[in-house]
């Protein structure tokens, strides 16, 4: 009896070490770069958390262009890295190709969908999270005018804008929403100066809450709003700490969880392919409340946003997804 128990234990220990040794995680960022204080950095933080907890090292790569991204994903797969996580929709076709070439490697794609037996696709309901911060913005605005500043003009960013507008309108039906996109090229993700100028412009038109969904460009938006004594809303990572007292809240998109879960599941041999749609309900998106913005959120706002959250979860409120039909209801 004792012997069997011991051997069982030994087997368990062996299989555990075998599994732990098996996993060689890799991470490929979007072209915005690793330390954007937003999307890619969230992915990096998820991987770092995994490393801190398990002691397992990961490799990462910052591609400069589409061809290089595919090469990096293939390189990781061919060198035995597993699972390979690629964040950004830009790697959709790359994952599609490489996953077919390496059927034994597990792939995770964030922000887009590939239907393959060895691919997990993680997408977020950004419109729901944006709706929540829109509700807060609509209530916080004293002028009845709020602003939105997007990065590059692509459907994904319009999805943020559309959810935000719906939320603001739910809080205040007469609200006016200004929106600007920073640009039409990838540089729009990394242009804080232009972000600041657009913010100034919206403030001049009367906006007093401005939501930035623009990667590193958003840093300029937050800065300008703080300089002018207005409120701003951060995106992807919790950016409340950047300008305490001025950043009203942040629309948090838990890219870190997608990365962390992928590695953990692979390590524990629980990896499942298929689609994971993370919305408000799954805590994949949400709004950030911490010591830095506690004083800005009134009990009424808190109650309204909690109700909006419950309504989205129960299905009483359906936030329109811009990308479902490429249009936003007015």
């Amino acid at each position: 009896m004792k012997k069997t128990l011991l051997s069982l234990l030994a087997m368990a220990a062996m299989s555990a070490t075998a599994l732990a040794a098996d996993i060689k995680p890799a991470l490929v960022y979007g072209t915005g770069g690793k330390f954007d204080k937003s999307f890619n950095e969230a992915a990096f933080n998820g991987a770092e958390k995994f490393k801190a907890e398990t002691g397992i090292e990961f490799r990462d790569f910052e591609p400069t262009g589409d061809t290089q991204g595919e090469q990096a994903i293939r390189n990781f797969a061919s060198k035995g890295y597993n699972p390979v996580v690629a964040v950004s929709f830009a790697w959709t076709s790359a994952i599609e190709k490489v996953a077919a070439e390496f059927p034994d490697t597990k792939f995770v794609l964030v922000d887009s969908v590939v239907d393959k037996p060895n691919v997990r696709s993680v997408v977020y309901a950004e419109h729901e999270g944006s709706y929540l911060v829109g509700v807060i913005a609509g209530m916080a605005s004293k002028t009845g005018k709020v602003g939105f500043i997007g990065g590059m003009d692509i459907p994904l960013i319009r999805k943020f804008e559309c959810g935000y507008e719906q939320g603001a309108r739910a809080a205040n039906p007469k609200i006016e929403v200004f929106q600007n996109m920073t640009g039409t090229t990838g540089a729009a993700w990394n242009d804080p100066v232009r972000g600041g100028e657009l913010t100034k412009n919206q403030i001049d038109q009367g906006a007093d809450v401005i939501y930035a969904a623009a990667g590193a460009t958003g840093l300029g938006v937050l800065q300008t709003a703080a300089d002018n004594g207005k409120l701003s809303i951060g995106v992807d990572s919790n950016q409340n700490h950047l300008h305490p007292g001025s950043v009203l809240t942040s629309m948090v998109k838990r890219v870190d969880l997608a990365v962390y879960n992928a590695y953990m599941d692979a390590k524990n041999d629980k990896f499942t392919p298929g689609l994971q749609a993370l919305g408000v309900k799954e805590d994949g998106v949400g709004w950030a409340l911490d010591d830095n913005n506690k004083s800005l959120i009134t009990p009424e706002m808190q109650a309204a946003v909690d109700k909006a959250k419950a309504d989205i979860i129960s299905g009483a409120v359906k936030v329109h997804d811009y990308m479902s039909d490429n249009s936003c209801p007015k």
Partner: protein
């Protein structure tokens, strides 16, 4: 005594000088690599193995080089007429639209070799059209071509994003791109060419547009040095007043030169759009238009030099990517530093060693 007027033998101007410049660029890059705590020799080894070590690496190197040959030729043609076309980037971007529209229209009905001529024409026509307005403004209104072509890069980017996000996008898909072209709208891979040398192409997107690029090199050489129009271009480039005294029409020469330059830039789109990804994507040019300026300068605006310079930049691109992959300490920004040093020494400071070389050469000849 000034050394600028002394003529040196070709092997020094075209062989030794670029080699010295390149060596210096790599020595300084090596110092930077050493400063951040990596072994420079190991780095060079990784870079060269990544670019030339395997069939797949060579395929990628040649793929990048194809882009740079097109844009390099585009810049060179304009420079011969004294025009500095900084708009190759935008012209190539619009060229992608021309190629993609042809591919989308014909891929269902025709095999690739029948689609290809139309796609070449479409890409060249779209690129040329994008160069036309700056050319016309330069020729008739005297607006400086450098300024207008730069501005047209931005207008081109805005137009393309508008089209891809609103018009050409596949409904319901996340990425702003067209549908994937069927086989009839794709250019075939050149794996047979690689196999002649016993190499495996693997996943590299090295494709038929490389051959189109080489044909264009011959065409450009013939145009510039063997035709009447090429003579007019070069005359205009060396001395606009002498050209006008000789009866060479300024406006016509400027406009036609820019149309050719824009057309060559537009053809670059064949390589990534129809050869590699088989769809039109946002920002597929990825800076190749600007690299073309460096390639043209390094290649002394001669097709042969351009091919060599394009190969060098292909090696830097592909090898650089592999290097930063294998040495995580060397970030992608480091690779840009290395490329920048090569451009600085081989392009901007190309004549730095010339006075010294002239002195050595003269002493050598006297003795």
């Amino acid at each position: 005594m000034s050394t600028a007027s002394v003529s040196l033998p070709n092997w020094i101007t075209y062989g030794l000088m670029p080699l010295l410049n390149l060596t210096l660029a790599f020595v300084i890059s090596g110092l930077v690599v050493w400063l951040i705590g990596e072994n420079p020799f190991e780095a060079v080894k990784l870079l060269l193995i990544g670019a030339l070590g395997r069939g797949e690496g060579i395929g990628f190197t040649l793929f990048y080089a194809t882009n740079f040959i097109f844009t390099g030729l585009s810049v060179a043609v304009a420079i011969h007429a004294g025009l500095f076309n900084i708009g190759s980037e935008g012209q190539a971007y619009l060229g992608g639209l021309g190629a993609a529209l042809v591919a989308l229209a014909l891929d269902n009905y025709l095999p690739w070799y029948a689609t290809m001529p139309f796609a070449i024409l479409g890409a060249a026509a779209a690129g040329a059209a994008w160069a036309f307005i700056p050319a016309w403004l330069q020729a008739k209104r005297g607006s400086h071509i450098v300024i207008t072509t730069i501005m047209f890069n931005f207008i081109g980017a805005a137009l393309m994003v508008y089209l891809l996000v609103n018009v050409l996008i596949v409904p319901g898909k996340m990425a702003p791109e067209t549908r994937t072209f069927l086989e009839g709208g794709q250019l075939p891979k050149l794996d047979w060419l690689m196999e002649l040398f016993g190499l495996k192409l693997g996943a590299a997107p090295f494709n038929f547009s490389f051959i189109i690029a080489l044909v264009m090199c011959v065409v450009v050489w013939f145009l510039i040095w063997r035709t009447k129009f090429g003579y007019e271009m070069r005359t205009l480039g060396i001395s606009p007043s002498a050209a006008s005294y000789a009866g060479i029409p300024y406006a016509r020469t400027v406009i036609i030169t820019m149309l050719i330059s824009g057309g060559l830039a537009g053809m670059m789109a064949l390589n990534p759009v129809m050869g590699a990804s088989a769809r039109l994507q946002v920002e597929f040019v990825g800076g190749a238009g600007f690299v073309g300026i460096a390639v043209s300068l390094m290649g002394r605006n001669h097709p042969l030099g351009i091919v060599l310079a394009a190969l060098l930049f292909g090696i830097l691109y592909q090898g650089g990517g592999e290097l930063s992959f294998d040495m995580p300490n060397i970030t992608r920004d480091m690779i840009v530093v290395i490329q920048g040093l090569v451009i600085l020494f081989a392009g901007a400071l190309e004549f730095m060693f010339r006075p010294a070389l002239v002195r050595i050469y003269q002493n050598f000849v006297k003795a």
